[in-house]
């Protein structure tokens, strides 16, 4: 077989490549550093494959358009950074409630507010879980390399379609703005999941029907299946309800269609964990500093490993316990003032020490900062 073509790809462009591979046909967005190249790439590429790109008046309109496109049957995405993600939150809640599959790329920069447009951060980790009000279960994935950005964005679309829910992909400025020579997956190499469509007659159709896996088949608007799509709590037909016996099943469905199948969602990269006494736990760009630090201290003879969370939400409690089973201590490294570390503390048994290392000055943690932290831990 001929060698695959090696191409230099930027993190933000990798989002576009992955999304189109997964079947993206609609992008609406509003440019914001450090995510703008995602919109630029979609504007350039989507028209070539019969897709549509719209620059909306703001991020509120952007996600509204994405929801509309998805309900109309297209795989749809938007991309933004913290300030834009904040504006999208209300409509993101509407997408959770209406069980609308879509993908939001958040290339994180420093915050709060307009913060640091060109500087790196991982401070939207909790916002990705608890952005909108109300009870729902968020799915969030976080790649750390350019190649992984392509495959994680594909995975995000597959998860969105499989579970009929929004999926957030958390990138960060370093990843979004870095480039790497990669080879791209061939068509057919990665399986693509498309939403399940109804097979019943339009008369029998219930848009939010309870099914064995709790995900309801979803028609496209215009295909003859009529239903009400509302943010108000609704019954299986989509009609607004105030009846306890209808409210509880809807809420149960929103959570359990995801949480009962979380094994399908969890993904973690483990390096040198087999005999590790101490493990770094990280995600996004920081995972690369952790892998480097692991490599450095292993060469000096210390039993250190690295765990990279590729799925952040739902948090992989059980899998993390299993992976850290032989560890005496973990070091949770992130670019914020402590977000995922609390999940790690909650998930791990009390006999495993949890140390934390944070950076929030707009720069990425360096491998030597991680190595130096080990002086307190080893």
């Amino acid at each position: 077989m001929a060698d695959k073509e090696r191409v230099l790809v930027m993190g933000n462009q990798a989002c576009v490549l992955g999304a189109i591979y997964a079947g993206l046909r609609f992008f609406a967005g509003y440019p914001i550093t450090p995510s703008t190249e995602v919109a630029e790439g979609c504007a350039r590429e989507l028209p070539k494959i019969g897709g549509r790109f719209i620059q909306m008046e703001d991020e509120i309109g952007s996600i509204a358009a994405v929801i509309g496109a998805s309900v109309s049957g297209l795989k749809a995405m938007t991309a933004t950074s913290g300030p834009g993600y904040s504006l999208m939150i209300e409509n993101l809640g509407y997408a959770y409630m209406t069980e609308t599959p879509l993908v939001v790329i958040n290339v994180q920069r420093g915050g709060p507010s307009t913060g640091l447009p060109t500087k790196v951060s991982q401070s939207d980790t909790m916002q990705a879980k608890w952005g909108p009000h109300g009870d729902y279960t968020a799915i969030t994935v976080a790649p750390s390399t350019i190649g992984e950005t392509v495959t994680e964005v594909i995975r995000a679309f597959n998860l969105a379609e499989r579970f009929r829910t929004p999926v957030t992909v958390l990138l960060d400025e370093v990843l979004g703005h870095s480039r790497q020579i990669i080879t791209l997956p061939e068509p057919g190499e990665i399986e693509i999941f498309d939403r399940v469509k109804p097979t019943c007659s339009p008369e029998e159709f219930e848009a939010f029907a309870m099914t064995p896996n709790m995900v309801s088949p979803m028609p496209a608007y215009g295909e003859g299946y009529r239903y009400v799509c509302t943010g108000l709590t609704h019954d299986t037909k989509g009609f607004t309800t105030n009846k306890s016996e209808e409210i509880a099943p809807k809420m149960y469905k929103l959570r359990h269609k995801i949480i009962d199948y979380q094994d399908e969602i969890h993904k973690m990269r483990a390096e040198k964990m087999d005999d590790a006494e101490v493990a770094f736990i990280s995600y996004g760009s920081v995972a690369r500093a952790a892998l480097q630090a692991t490599d450095i201290v292993r060469k000096a003879g210390y039993k250190v490993g690295a765990l990279q969370l590729q799925t952040i939400w739902p948090f992989p409690d059980e899998k993390l316990r299993e992976m850290c089973g032989k560890c005496r201590a973990v070091v949770v490294a992130e670019l914020n003032m402590g977000q995922i570390v609390h999940e790690v503390r909650r998930a791990l048994p009390p006999d495993i020490e949890v140390h934390e290392l944070q950076r929030y000055d707009g720069e990425i943690l360096t491998p030597m900062q991680l190595v130096n932290k080990l002086e307190e831990v080893l």
Binding site: R6, V7, T118, H177, I181, A289, K299, T366, P367
Partner: protein, 194 residues
């Protein structure tokens, strides 16, 4: 428990790390993208390029790192530089400490006047761009060609390919000229230093 890792851990040796630094608008980020692309056209090594800049379109410090390795590149930014290009005094002052002992320092002598060491390759990239190549804009390309000549990490053909694939229409000749100047001036410098 507490241990001291000083002297026990070493920075990784399987990476070649370079930084192109200057002021916003001098084309340091574009130059690093071109260089990374040229590496890809030269052989099968892994390459990662990262950048750091301020919110302004021009001015402010701007730097871009390129890491090259036979192995998987974990950390995407430079840890300790094998090569540093500085196009301004500010970037030299700021980043010189990140250069490995024995690393290669390349300086634009049109804009830098104070040197922390006498071990450097100095060429007036900005002056050469203005006077010899016909436009100040190609100073970054002259510098790239000089780096290619001094390090041998990319072929002239690959660099030319990479530059021309990124050059705006109508600037091809100036860029080709810039590459020629960069290679020639660096070769002269190398010969002089032995």
């Amino acid at each position: 428990m507490a241990v001291s890792l000083k002297g026990k851990v070493a920075i990784p040796e399987d990476r070649f790390e370079m930084r192109l630094s200057g002021s916003g608008g001098q084309g340091m980020i574009l130059a690093s993208v071109i260089f990374a692309e040229a590496i890809g056209k030269t052989d099968k090594r892994n390459v990662v390029q990262t950048q750091s800049y301020g919110p302004e379109a021009r001015g402010g410090a701007s730097k871009s790192d390129v890491v090259i390795s036979e192995n998987e590149i974990y950390y995407p930014k430079a840890i300790k530089l094998d090569l540093l290009l500085t196009m301004t005094q500010e970037s030299l002052d700021k980043y010189y400490a990140d250069l490995k002992e024995g690393g290669t320092l390349i300086v634009d002598t049109s804009l830098v006047t104070e040197f922390p060491t006498d071990k450097y390759f100095g060429l007036p990239f900005t002056e050469l761009a203005k006077k010899e190549a016909g436009h100040v804009m190609v100073a970054n390309v002259i510098a790239l060609a000089a780096i290619a000549e001094l390090t041998g990490s990319v072929t002239r053909e690959a660099l030319t390919d990479a530059v021309l694939s990124r050059a705006p229409k109508g600037t091809e000749e100036k860029n080709k000229k810039a590459i020629e100047i960069g290679f020639a001036e660096a070769a002269k410098l190398k010969a002089k230093k032995g």
